[in-house]
């Protein structure tokens, strides 16, 4: 074939001639041939295929993640909306795509625009999971000098950054939480559109939230004209997002630039989860202690009191520890705490701990994970289980890598129970275990999902059983009934909650509940407010579900 554009190497010969003139420096044969070997090893000898996987032997990817990355590279020419439901790993998919392009040598310079609160997390994940030397933009860094920079849209659009960024030819631009650029009249939108970019990835879990024109705007960044001109589009489809469902043609066009997986269409969880609420009743002594604590302490703030109430539902130790700490900080509390501290020492074994032992004894040959919110409870449980002839090991986020691995190994091979305080962070995989006790419930339902995700994940072969403990007539009952059960959070996968909260502008569920607790004067008030919160979430969820049926499942 003639008239192929060929770019020649015009530097090498000058370099060699110069070296000949100076008589050096020359490479030894050994190093010379090693450089050749290195080139042969790192080059990409085929158009097709996915090279980056062999560069990431420490990672286990899910099939839909590899599939998404491959689709973007092979069918979408590296310009796509990644719109998986929350929790399916959009970041992982984006990392894979970036890595593949870097391995193939087609991306050297990339700009990642992510929410300010996620900048460090992105940097960390790209470095640790993908060995991509990404860095966060800092004051006085030059945009030109560093190759893989992560920053926020807000920083990028400020002067003089914006001017400098617009001068650079990027091989790849990524926008996380791309719904922030769905409105074409905003500065954010203008900036992303004006950036000089070869490949472009837009990440969002909610590609269409309000109006159909949003999807038009996103697509127009990737492939202007793909959905026609603005006027033609508005004329034909209007602004109603339900049109997306009706119109097969439009749906097909959008599919060409968008990858969307939902939990249902990934085979992530082929096994079932059985969720059971285990109601526990306090012993007489515990109940009276709880009631006294609930009514008697007038001098401490509502929130501090709530903390103590929550803790006594977990273990005497957790409550005792907090009380001593509070008294230390505020000596004036000492007197009002004194009778409680005395009394706490007299309490019998905790009702929940007794229930744990009864439950575990039903499955003497099976592994069980217990999650608790408190370290003091973790220690207590370990001691109490040992008293009852049950072997266990602890697990905490603060353990170093080696210790974590060791604990995991002990759990797999030798002991029956693992008692953990933290699910997040880099995930340990415990698919060999299929029973979990949530000794106390987190206020943030997303964290419960993270916990369950430790065992109910790719590779789990049995159905999983989740036991959620709660004590009757306590604060735990409110959280259980008004939050978890009312929202049906146990039946549905909690992943969806994320996008619902986003619609409601709630960034942190735990803070929201804390705020309710802090601002309420009585238990009755807490109940009403929690109930209201659940109703709003429930209502939004139903509404989104309806709309979701119209545009979802691409």
């Amino acid at each position: 074939m003639k008239n192929m554009k060929v770019l020649y190497d015009n530097k090498f010969m000058t370099g060699l001639e110069e070296a000949m003139k100076q008589d050096g420096p020359f490479s030894s044969w050994e190093l010379f041939s090693m450089a050749y070997e290195a080139e042969l090893t790192t080059m990409t000898s085929d158009f097709k295929g996915f090279l980056s996987l062999k560069y990431l032997p420490h990672m286990e990817f899910l099939s839909h993640q590899i599939n998404a990355a491959q689709q973007v590279i092979e069918n979408m020419n590296g310009r796509a909306i990644l719109a998986d439901e929350v929790g399916l790993g959009k970041t992982i998919e984006a990392g894979l795509i970036l890595k593949e392009y870097m391995v193939r040598g087609v991306v050297k310079k990339a700009l990642l625009l992510v929410p300010a609160s996620l900048v460090n997390q992105w940097v960390q994940e790209l470095n640790e999971k993908f060995h991509i030397p990404a860095i966060a933009h800092r004051k006085n860094y030059s945009w030109e000098q560093h190759n893989i920079l992560v920053t926020s849209l807000d920083t990028a659009k400020k002067s003089p950054h914006q001017e400098q960024i617009l001068e650079i030819d990027y091989d790849l631009v990524l926008v996380d939480e791309a719904h922030k650029i769905k409105n074409h009249k905003t500065k954010n939108y203008e900036l992303v559109r004006a950036l000089k970019k070869k490949y472009c990835l837009l990440l969002t879990a909610t590609p269409v939230q309000n109006e159909l024109i949003e999807i038009f705007n996103l697509v127009s960044i990737l492939k202007p004209g793909h959905l026609g001109s603005y006027e033609a589009f508005v004329k034909r489809f209007g602004k109603d997002r339900s049109k997306l469902k009706e119109n097969e043609y439009l749906k097909k066009l959008v599919k060409k630039v968008m990858v969307r997986h939902t939990r249902e269409n990934t085979n992530m969880n082929p096994t079932k989860r059985h969720i059971e609420t285990v109601w526990v009743t306090f012993s007489k002594e515990e109940k009276s202690f709880y009631e006294q604590l609930d009514t008697a302490i007038g001098s401490i703030a509502t929130f501090a009191k709530l903390t103590l109430l929550r803790e006594i539902c977990s273990s005497r130790e957790a409550c005792y520890l907090s009380m001593s700490k509070m008294a230390e900080k505020n000596p004036e509390l000492k007197d009002s705490f004194h009778p409680f501290i005395k009394q706490i020492e007299q309490l019998p074994a905790h009702a929940k701990a007794e229930q744990v032992v009864r439950l575990i004894n039903q499955f003497p040959n099976e592994k069980v994970i217990i999650f608790t919110e408190y370290r003091a409870s973790q220690l207590y449980l370990q001691w109490y289980l040992q008293q009852n002839g049950i072997s266990s090991v602890p697990y905490r986020g603060g353990f170093n890598r080696g210790k974590k691995d060791w604990m995991r190994q002990l759990f797999e091979n030798q002991v029956q129970v693992l008692i953990a305080t933290e699910a997040g962070g880099e995930g340990i995989n415990l698919q060999f275990c299929n029973r979990m006790i949530n000794y106390d419930l987190p206020w943030n339902p997303m964290r419960l999902e993270q916990r369950i995700g430790r065992i109910h994940r790719f590779g789990q072969e049995k159905d999983v059983h989740i036991y959620n403990f709660a004590i009757k007539d306590t604060i735990e009952e409110h959280i259980m009934k008004l939050l978890y059960e009312k929202l049906g959070l146990f039946e549905q996968v909690i992943g969806r909650l994320d996008s619902i909260l986003e619609v409601l502008n709630i960034t942190d569920m735990e803070q929201e509940i804390e705020a309710i607790m802090k601002s309420s004067a009585s238990t009755g008030e807490i109940k009403i407010k929690l109930d209201n919160l659940s109703s709003v979430i429930h209502h939004t969820a139903e509404f989104e579900q309806k709309v979701g049926e119209q545009y979802g499942n691409f």
């Binding site: 074939m1 003639k2 192929m4 554009k5 060929v6 770019l7 190497d9 090498f12 010969m13 060699l16 001639e17 070296a19 000949m20 050096g24 420096p25 020359f26 490479s27 044969w29 190093l31 010379f32 041939s33 090693m34 450089a35 050749y36 070997e37 290195a38 080139e39 042969l40 090893t41 790192t42 080059m43 990409t44 000898s45 158009f47 097709k48 062999k54 560069y55 032997p57 420490h58 092979e74 020419n77 391995v103 193939r104 087609v106 060995h131 030397p133 559109r193 004006a194 000089k196 970019k197 070869k198 492939k223 202007p224 004209g225 793909h226 026609g228 001109s229 603005y230 006027e231 080696g402």
Partner: protein
Amino acid sequence: MAISNLNQFLVQYFRAHQCDIIKNEDGVLVIQLTEEMDRTLMNRPFYWHYMKQMGQAGEPMQLTLVTNLKKEVEKGERIHFGSPRLQQIINHLKAKERFTKLYEQLPAVNRVALHPWLVVNMKLSYIGLQKKDELFSIGLNLVNGMMKTDMIDQLKHLHLQPAIPDFCYTISPLIMPGSGFKRIEKVLTTYIEEQDHSWAEATRKELLQEKELLQQFYDGQEDEDNQFEKELTQIIERYEPKITMNVTNGGMFYLAQ
């Protein structure tokens, strides 16, 4: 001849840079770096700067690399294809080992004439929707114009040394290295022209489609800041198929007939 045994490759690399291998057991390597290699790999310019200012020698570090990924180790860096350390070593090799001049080693018996060869290891990259590379090792005899492919594999069987052996002499080239290089480029260009380039066709087709879409998009629309032209340039850049030639390394080799 790609790297097949990483452990061996690393030992060879560090030995070639005069580093002592303190331990080499079951995929765990402990290497005593030299100052030069410490400066190259350990990224601590301030340490060396400070040491020089104090008039002290400084102490190069020891590096522990673990190539056996299944091995449980207390300390040490795990190194594999794709790990930043190997990337660094490979980049160091590619950047530094660009040029060479070597002579074939011969037993010193009688006078032997050595022919000058220009050897070029050239990487062709085909860049369209996707990208692939091809690596050629080509040798050109600068006296009689003979050209050989897979030159590096033939050189492997010889003993090569940096200085001219006793009793040997070199023949002056009839072809200047610069025009020799042009000959090599020409041969590769012909090779390119003779290939099937359906990948480039597919890329051009995509380019046309994208151009049309873009035109439709801006048709009748106000375009104040000339966004259309900008997008068009980007599309051309993205989709225009091209082939690049980049020399990995090369040099002059003086070989007996």
